[in-house]
């Protein structure tokens, strides 16, 4: 059983998703969810890295996201991090917490995007505050695994 405060966070997330996907302007739902994630990530990482040493480089930051950051948020590490060393990082979470509550099965796959949007923003916001401007996308091919792709914007 996950910790009590994590349950609360999970419920809040679920309600946020519901609030914005049910709201009158559905089209903006994704960008709003992403933005909530962004500001949360931006602020959270400011606090979370208080005790962390200065990062060496981009890869160092990505490792931090996959390990310490992911543990703080999801109580587990990213299962697999890959990079092409040209600014693209792929983070695999084989058991993404926000997807575990949806029944697995293809028919629920269509609902997956709304449950990963917040996290995309969370990653983007965190990286933005750490000085990496990027685009974060997510891909869910079978529940509850999720693949986040970070594409760093250079220049």
């Amino acid at each position: 059983m996950s910790a009590a405060e994590d349950v609360l966070f999970e419920l809040l997330h679920m309600e946020i998703v519901k609030t914005f996907t049910d709201s009158k302007d559905k089209d903006d739902a994704a960008s709003k969810l992403e933005y909530i994630g962004f500001t949360t990530g931006y602020r959270f990482v400011e606090r979370a890295t208080r005790e962390t040493n200065r990062f060496k480089d981009e890869l160092d930051i990505m490792k931090y996201i996959c390990k310490v950051f992911w543990v703080s948020v999801f109580k587990k590490e990213i299962d697999n991090l890959r990079t092409n060393h040209q600014g693209v990082y792929v983070l695999n979470d084989n058991n993404f917490r926000f997807l575990t509550r949806i029944s697995s099965g293809k028919q629920y796959l269509q609902y997956a995007p709304r449950f990963v949007t917040f996290t995309c923003g969370l990653i983007r916001g965190s990286l933005a505050n750490l000085g990496i401007n990027c685009v974060v996308t997510a891909e869910v091919s079978h529940l509850p695994a999720c693949k986040f792709q970070v594409q760093v914007q250079r220049g």
């Binding site: 500001t39 931006y42 602020r43 959270f44 990482v45 400011e46 606090r47 890295t49 208080r50 962390t52 040493n53 200065r54 990062f55 060496k56 480089d57 930051i61 505050n129 750490l130 000085g131």
Partner: protein
């Protein structure tokens, strides 16, 4: 106690400046401003000095005839600069470090205020 305390944003513009009363504000600002050169050099990527602990606390940046200028950076590229009197022997390195830690903590609280827009001047404190 320190005579000046400055928070500098990602783009190297001051977000918050505090000065001990009665000091020459501009002079202290010049000191803090030039201190940025040292901070920038210290945190520049590729700078691999032996014995660099990668600590957020950057230590003494430099000293002038009257003041000592200390620096600290966060992982989010926010810089703090504290200026002390050269003659102030009471402040040892560790105390300066703790002062910065405290400052960082306060800063992160400010950033976490949902009504604060990062990059704006800090009005509270």
């Amino acid at each position: 106690m320190a005579v000046s305390l400055t928070i500098i944003g990602k783009e190297n513009s001051p977000l918050y400046i505090w000065m001990d009363e009665g000091r020459d504000s501009l002079q202290l600002q010049y000191l803090a401003h030039t201190g940025l050169d040292v901070i920038q050099e210290k945190i520049s990527v590729g700078q691999k000095l032996p014995g660099d602990s990668r600590e957020l606390y950057l230590g003494l940046l430099y000293a002038s005839e009257e003041y000592k200028i200390y620096g600290y950076t966060t992982n989010s590229k926010i810089k703090f600069i504290v200026i002390t009197d050269v003659t102030n022997a009471a402040l040892r390195d560790n105390e300066i470090r703790m002062m910065f830690r405290h400052l960082h903590s306060i800063y992160s609280t400010v950033v976490c205020n949902p009504f604060y827009v990062p990059g704006e001047k800090i009005s509270s404190q």
